[in-house]
Symmetry: D2
């Protein structure tokens, strides 16, 4: 340890200043904090150096200490779950909504009017067409005007618009993994947009922390299955964004699967190349050269989901088997981080003008 | 219990006769019995009512009791692993080879000459072109003549030829799941054969019982990854058989994945339909109406791998999302049963003229 | 295949006789067949050569095909769940109750009066003291007289009494594993009965097929915990039976744990030896020499739960670390088989005078 | 975000100063970085604000980029594995040895002579008696003099001695969990020291990243077993330290088990209480009141291993079932963090006089 004593003293003073003047903080509220997205937000935000947790609501668990429900947070979160209270929420700088679909849109108007930014981790603001929303989510949209102004919070696409957004629609987990894998191809028109295939595999935490038979350990362990082949709510979301990226209609077959792991999404993406002379590796590397959380692996790689476990990274590899006309993209994320809470924090960082990686710069937990 | 006493006595006598005259049995030898295919063969054959286990070889474990290596077989298998011995093997009616690739072909000639039928569960007799074999398996084929006469042991295709076969090439696990899912479409020319996609997911037992880092529990658990996207040995095997079924060249993209479960393969298959007015459900049901081990689920179903765990069944569902031009077939097997040992026993049953389901008619183990 | 033709013909005739006169069958009813014990009963009984499945009830799923709920049974079980109907049940030879606790005792009197034998896989008839039952299960016992005559269905202890029993109380899963491990010591007074410790670990299927948060995959996977250290319902059951075996009061500390696997119980049992010169290995081997389903492993062994997976075996090893005064017994069962449905079938076999191992003689599924 | 602009500027300057003068850093070397302890050290140290990674050695992987072997470290660790080089290591402030047993002791003398502190995460310096070491590890100790001065690195016991230690013996994973659970009882003489029982369950990463059959996924998944009941190397280590704590000989039965999870140890500890009027909850809470990484849960709690996953915490609950004379302590850690790399970093922090929690203050990853 070779630091000169004067420097060490200086550093100590710096730390003191930083921690003493804690007001230089973003005051955060969380609506609906008892699900997996909620506890993951708390894991990230409780050690985020520029966040002060103000309030966390839960109708079902109001009055209960957060750390009693989630012992992993003992010593990190002293809050108690409270009933949603408009005044309390209005005192925050930003509110994350980690509720089931259809709740955030009922809070949105009041929050925006109070000058509070809203980051909805559910689906309320993801589909730009209110009719499409109603079709897939089974209820009319509560605030189409805010839907119109909401920004789809995929930083790799909308970074600039996120800075000023009042309402940020945090992308779904599957849509994040699929879009990051297909964007470089669609933005440059390299594949036939009519016949894209996204074969996606998710860990079971993606189904949420609800008591249901089909996600019991004894049902989902040592087992593998596809589901919702006939139609999944993430399909219109993915298609909307891919069409935006390509500027053309997109034909997408999307098959999600449940795989016996807690966290992680692996999207295996197939497209038919329009031309033969494309250096796909370079296309991907250039597209994401300046992205802090998208990592393009070298040629011939196979990213595994654990290489991003508990981290905000997306790792991608691109293949062209037998030098044929089919491109295969492998894209992995942690569904609870880059697919939910981590991306929400990334969006918050962008929206508040602080370093985008703040609070998100830990390596994945491996093994 | 309403059986009349005389009948009960008769039944007792019947059982006595069956068990007393044990010579009415198929005498079985196993070469290389220490892997997962070996222990699975033993699980099935040790209670097969018409099999007598004669010899099981293993160079590495010669002299060791089988039940010491696999305590699950205590009380069922009294054999001791022995060095491979040509004379002993020649005394069997049938020999299963459950060794690594390249071993069975060195035994084949002697066995066939001794009138012993050979069922190779490895790859030695799967590719009809010896040049292709050498390319993918890295060694010249030891007996091209026997390769020429060997029958590919997929009963749903080659049942009649299996009856008389001297050498049966038991299909690979992925090829079984993929072929059973695609055959009904290709045999009737319903899909574009140039752009088939097989996205397949396997449990870790598919990698065998070898000490390797990447299949350690701490590597493969809570993790998901693709592998060998650039080229997997099962690709030429699948393609050969699909081309045989369709009578045309086939373009197939095959991406295998490792999923954290012990047993099971889930193949998700994609093809582009040539016409719109096809009742796919009926096509599949008719194709497999008389197959004892292929079960076509009803419309809208999603088979899970555990529904075939430890059983010889293949369960299949066929989908056409959004009534579009893409057909999605879901096909599941237990890689160690229908994908290896069980199919081998099925082939033996056919070859020896006994009921094809003998010893294979237990339901899957669920949960 | 060396059977002489005449013998083969004879065998064929035998089989014909057996299968033609299907009336020589035990007609079985199942109350509450939608849980894991229910589906496991169906797995075993559907291929039991002397069982005819007559009726299976479920209030919640009445009208639904069994094989729709459990696709693993497609082709094996054609029954439809029905509302419990006294008359239908009265037409059975034996009824298994696989319901939650407190249901079987409401059916018992009617069944017994109709001459139907009742095997209760829940806890209603396990505790001989109705007061103790009420204390631990929170409701008064509905038929204390039948409780008094019920036989505790651990064949290794009560085989003779089971033959004639009208009501059989199938033991709990933990109690089976713990008792089989401690009986040889307690029956011969070899350990201090005041300070026994049973540290037991169960797979998650032991918690049943109910939608609950704590047994979700994302909660129970990659996790390990103790539960109910303050008191578990199996504690009084174990203690009652150990006291019966030893003839003295027993002090037992019982700590159950949840371990991330589907099936299996591993009980690690600790006792203080009274004397130094005991050949424990021989004690155990002699105790279970004639038991078809209890397997005492050789000295220095460590049974793993998968060595009994999906089978009715209990495997046991006995250790004396450092030749000290502490004996350590390792006892493993499959909680759904020897710990529930399999033992129930074993009890049925005994009660109906057929070979005790009928329908239960398949090796464990490994891997 | 309510920080006044001047303060923000000040904070920025502080950060600048801290990061600019990077020399105020501990220069770290790692010997043997390719195992799970190695990659876990790298995960923690790569974001430790006062650590500079200098060198990481591996004979087998010399020349390979660390991030190629462990893609989770891409963007965090730029180092290349190198052959062990005495001069390079001598330039470090501290060297962690994450090698197999028997290697660190061959480097120790040279490092100490060069003024480099050594933290050995293997077992070389854990047993104070060289004879005992030789007996359990099968080789003579290479530097008994350094063994004599080495400090056993359990901060909760030896914090003061660690500050000045030249050689720190990082405790084993089981010993950490067991000691932290038993120390409060033994230090105050509350239990009979002759009959302690430690029933411990470990995730599979505890077996290391070596290719071995018994830790393959297909062997260890959906399975549970005890091992080394006759004697495990951690037994003498635990006993040595418990005897030091209690000042008397200790009789300990230690049974380790393998449980199908990646990370985590759950120790279930049993002791016989000497007296009845002890408030055990208070004893534990007082013992660990000032410990940053030991968390005593409230009465009636059951800590689960995931509540400490990927964190440096030990969570403990104490029970007295039925108010009897048996105390049951539940103690959980992450075997790779508090049981290995995390505790090693904690020791480094102490030894270099920085805040003990630096780089270790992230909540557990749940789910």
């Amino acid at each position: 340890m070779r630091a000169p004593p004067t420097l060490r003293r200086c550093v100590v003073i710096c730390y003191y200043l930083i921690f003493r003047f804690g007001t230089c903080m973003i005051k955060v509220g969380i609506i609906g904090g008892t699900g997996y997205t909620g506890v993951e937000l708390l894991r990230l935000l409780s050690v985020h150096p520029q966040v002060e947790l103000g309030v966390i609501t839960s109708r079902a668990d109001a009055g209960r200490k957060v750390a009693d429900l989630f012992p992993s947070l003992r010593g990190f979160v002293d809050l108690v779950f409270s009933e949603p209270d408009a005044r309390q929420l209005a005192g925050c700088d930003v509110v994350f909504s980690a509720t089931p679909n259809g709740v955030a849109m009922t809070h949105a108007r009041a929050l925006v009017d109070a000058g509070v930014r809203l980051i909805d981790i559910a689906a309320d603001f993801r589909l730009r067409d209110p009719g499409l929303w109603e079709k897939w989510y089974g209820m009319p949209h509560a605030c189409p005007d805010l839907l119109a102004e909401a920004v789809y919070g995929l930083p790799e696409v909308n970074r600039e618009r996120i800075r000023a957004a009042r309402v940020i629609a945090n992308p779904g987990c599957y849509p994040t993994a699929v879009q990051l894998g297909l964007l470089p191809l669609l933005e440059r028109g390299l594949v036939d947009p009519d016949h894209l295939i996204a074969d996606a595999k998710s860990g079971v935490s993606g189904a949420g922390r609800k008591a249901e038979v089909h996600t019991l350990f004894a049902e989902a362990s040592d087992n593998f299955k596809a589901y919702a082949v006939g139609g999944h709510r993430h399909w219109p979301e993915i298609r909307q964004e891919l069409e935006r990226a390509s500027g053309t209609p997109v034909g997408l077959t999307f098959v999600p699967h449940l795989t016996p792991m807690v966290r992680g999404i692996h999207a295996t993406l197939y497209g038919r190349l329009k031309g033969a002379n494309i250096d796909l590796q370079t296309v991907f590397e250039e597209r994401y050269r300046n992205e802090p959380f998208v990592d393009v692996l070298g040629p011939g790689s196979h990213p595994d989901t654990r290489s991003v476990r508990a981290s905000n990274f997306c790792r991608i590899a691109v293949h062209r088997p037998g030098d044929g006309d089919t491109v295969v993209v492998l894209s992995v994320i942690d569904n609870l981080v880059k697919g939910a809470a981590g991306q929400a924090v990334q969006n918050m960082n962008i929206a508040f003008g602080i370093d985008e990686t703040t609070g998100l710069s830990a390596p994945a937990v491996l093994p």
